[in-house]
């Protein structure tokens, strides 16, 4: 306390780092006790009068003056008002602002992205060389898909494939289209029928192409009926009601609900259950997963959808990215694990009052905090 009192009220000004210019950061230190407000003034080089900038929040002791012009020199002065005294602090040298070309506080994010990218590319190359070499574990819902199509065929019933109600920009919709190709090939092989209603016209055209190719690959291009892939409506409940109607009329033996769903998920899953179809769902919409888990026979949970589409296609690009994500997960696990070790360490040492460990620990936390910023 005594130290604080004899340290005098000071101010510093510097170009705000990592910004687009037009801003100078002002800091005040050793704010006198009992200060009620701190006012900030500014003198532009060449002028004679100080103009008021505003109040510096006392608890922060920092203000970004965003009203400056790049390249112009300024002098700053702050006054701290206590009930009985006015303290004044002034900077010695002129300050100016300028824009930066690189945001240093984001370096670690850039590094993370670059690494992630390289890892994915490397894995894609590896997968191209040796597609069998990259292992992806089996996913039960995927295994069940062939069986479901088979069962529908046995019963002489069609297969219904609902691709969700998101646009083509969604990662889940993209995964759904890949899964559709797999289901389509099986359907063509078994010579049964696939019904594929759509919410979005653009997704519909993509699905049409995909199914056409799938039927050709299975050697039955003639069996593909373009009218079975159709646009229903882009109104959420209208779509749900329409698909419900199809379920009740056509009585499909297998239902695939794959893609991004919203509140209608429940209506679809319930009707599907009530007609006794095998239901295989998959969505990256975490809020809708509970309904699928409770009402469907098999569910691809969130990220499993992406893995499933990689597994199906055995395509290097997809396999590579799954491997990349897994590696990133391992890195995170290690990071969290290190955090735990140091956390525990620090917790123990903190009690013992060992400043060295606390120092190391703080450093690491600081780094991670910066990474996350």
């Amino acid at each position: 306390m005594i130290f604080l009192l004899i340290l005098s009220f000071t101010i510093s000004a510097k170009d705000t780092p990592d910004d687009a210019g037009g801003s100078i950061t002002i800091n005040v230190y050793n704010i006198p006790e009992g200060t009620e407000q701190i006012e900030l003034y500014r003198l532009t080089k060449g002028d004679t009068l100080f103009e008021e900038v505003g109040l510096i929040p006392i608890f922060k002791g920092e203000l970004d003056d965003a009203t400056v012009t790049d390249g112009v020199l300024y002098l700053y002065k702050a006054t701290a008002l206590t009930p009985d005294t006015v303290y004044v602090a002034e900077i010695k040298e002129f300050a100016s602002s300028s824009p930066e070309w690189f945001n240093k506080s984001r370096t670690s994010v850039l590094l993370f992205i670059a690494l992630f990218w390289v890892v994915i590319l490397v894995y894609i190359q590896l997968a191209k060389k040796n597609p069998e070499g990259l292992f992806i574990r089996k996913l039960p819902p995927l295994e069940a898909m062939d069986e479901a199509v088979g069962r529908a065929t046995e019963m002489g019933k069609p297969v219904l494939y609902v691709p969700g109600i998101e646009y083509i920009t969604d990662a889940g919709t993209l995964a759904s289209i890949t899964i559709l190709a797999k289901v389509g090939r099986k359907v063509a092989e078994y010579e049964t029928r696939i019904i594929n209603p759509h919410f979005d016209p653009i997704v519909m055209t993509t699905a049409q192409e995909t199914l056409k190719n799938a039927f050709s690959e299975a050697g039955r291009p003639d069996a593909f009926n373009k009218d079975d892939v159709f646009y229903l409506t882009s109104e959420q409940f209208g779509f749900a009601a329409g698909v419900d109607g199809i379920m009740l009329r056509e009585r499909p033996g297998a239902i695939f609900l794959q893609g991004y769903f919203y509140a209608e998920s429940l209506i679809l899953a319930e009707t599907g259950y009530s007609i006794g179809a095998i239901q295989i769902a998959g969505t990256n919409a975490t809020t809708q997963l509970p309904f699928f888990v409770a009402a469907c026979d098999y569910v691809l949970l969130g990220e499993e959808m992406f893995a499933a589409s990689a597994y199906i296609s055995k395509e290097p690009r997809l396999l590579g990215s799954i491997k990349g994500s897994d590696l990133a997960k391992s890195v995170l696990l290690v990071l969290i694990g290190v955090g735990v070790i140091f956390g525990t360490f620090a917790a123990i040492k903190n009690v013992a009052g060992n400043p060295v460990y606390m120092e190391i620990f703080d450093r690491i936390l600081e780094f991670l905090a910066r990474t996350a910023e």
């Binding site: 965003a66 006794g276 095998i278 809020t287």
Partner: protein, 291 residues
């Protein structure tokens, strides 16, 4: 087993009727089960309650549409009433997306009726929709006047007495985002993280579970989750002697309780039936799927 089989095939109209009744009857003949406020709601209430006149304005955002109105409108009204009664200046911002301005307008119209002596522009301000979503959140941190220009009714910003001296987040005490969307994350990322403004939220019960992460980390000041959260806020308003209107959320709580009870009973009965019937089928050797 026959009974259960028939029971499981019960026409769903009866279930619909049941749900309708358990909601309507408690509304007409309320039991008034006590509502106990939870910590996230108390935190939000206290934060707003302890604000003085000169701590800055409360910034309420309506990021929802009619689909979630029953849950979120009572929250909006409570927070507005709370501020207006206390005399805390309050800004109503008509949402980050274009479709939500209708909700803000509705709340404004109610306020005009409930508080005839409070003046628009002096005691509260209504700002319209500005395109840009996250860009708007960032822009408020720089200068509110240039971001909005006028209020919803076209009155120039500098002619609004209440907004005199209100320049950016420094002059906003708390953002209360009432939202049926992902907007709380945006206010967090761009408002709280970048400019250090406090953020409290009101959200639907659907999204509440995923926001506990941010509550726990202290990034949100407080949270009202779903109709229950709204009722808890009304309860606190009542306890501290603030006007609560018709308390739409609290009134709905009995219906909510019994609605849940019925659904729980249905889940349990459905599963009992399922197991009894399935066991029976196994004995006779029928495979479930081909029934």
């Amino acid at each position: 087993m026959k009974f259960w089989q028939r029971f499981l095939n019960l026409d769903r109209k009866w279930i619909f009727l049941g749900i309708g009744l358990v909601v309507i009857i408690p509304l007409l003949f309320p039991l008034r089960l006590p509502v106990k406020p939870s910590k996230p709601v108390i935190d939000l209430f206290n934060r707003i309650d302890t604000l003085g006149v000169d701590n800055g304005v409360v910034w309420v955002v309506t990021d929802f549409d009619p689909g979630t109105m029953p849950e979120l409108m009572p929250m909006t009204m409570s927070v507005l009433r709370h501020c207006l009664t206390k005399g805390t200046p309050v800004v109503l911002h008509g949402g980050l997306w274009p479709a939500y301005i209708g909700m803000a307008k509705m709340a404004m119209d109610n306020i005009a009726v409930e508080f005839p002596d409070k003046k628009i522009g002096e005691d509260y301000v209504f700002l319209g929709y500005i395109p840009g979503v996250t860009a708007v959140i960032l822009a408020i941190g720089i200068d509110i006047e240039t971001t909005f220009g006028t209020d919803y009714y076209g009155v120039p910003y500098d002619s609004l007495p209440m907004m005199e001296g209100v320049k950016n987040y420094e002059d906003i005490s708390i953002i209360v985002d009432i939202s049926g969307t992902r907007s709380p994350e945006y206010w967090l990322m761009y408002g709280q993280q970048r400019y250090g403004v406090d953020v409290g939220i009101g959200c639907t019960a659907v999204s509440a579970p995923s926001y506990y992460t941010f509550l726990q980390s202290g990034q949100f000041v407080g949270m009202m989750g779903g109709l229950k959260g709204a009722a808890e806020y009304e309860e606190l308003m009542e306890r501290y002697g603030y006007p609560t209107g018709r308390r739409p959320a609290t009134v709905g709580m009995d219906a909510q309780s019994f609605g849940h009870l019925l659904i729980v009973v249905l889940v349990i009965l459905g599963n009992i039936g399922y197991f009894i019937v399935r066991r029976g089928e196994r004995k006779v050797g029928i495979e479930r799927r081909k029934e």
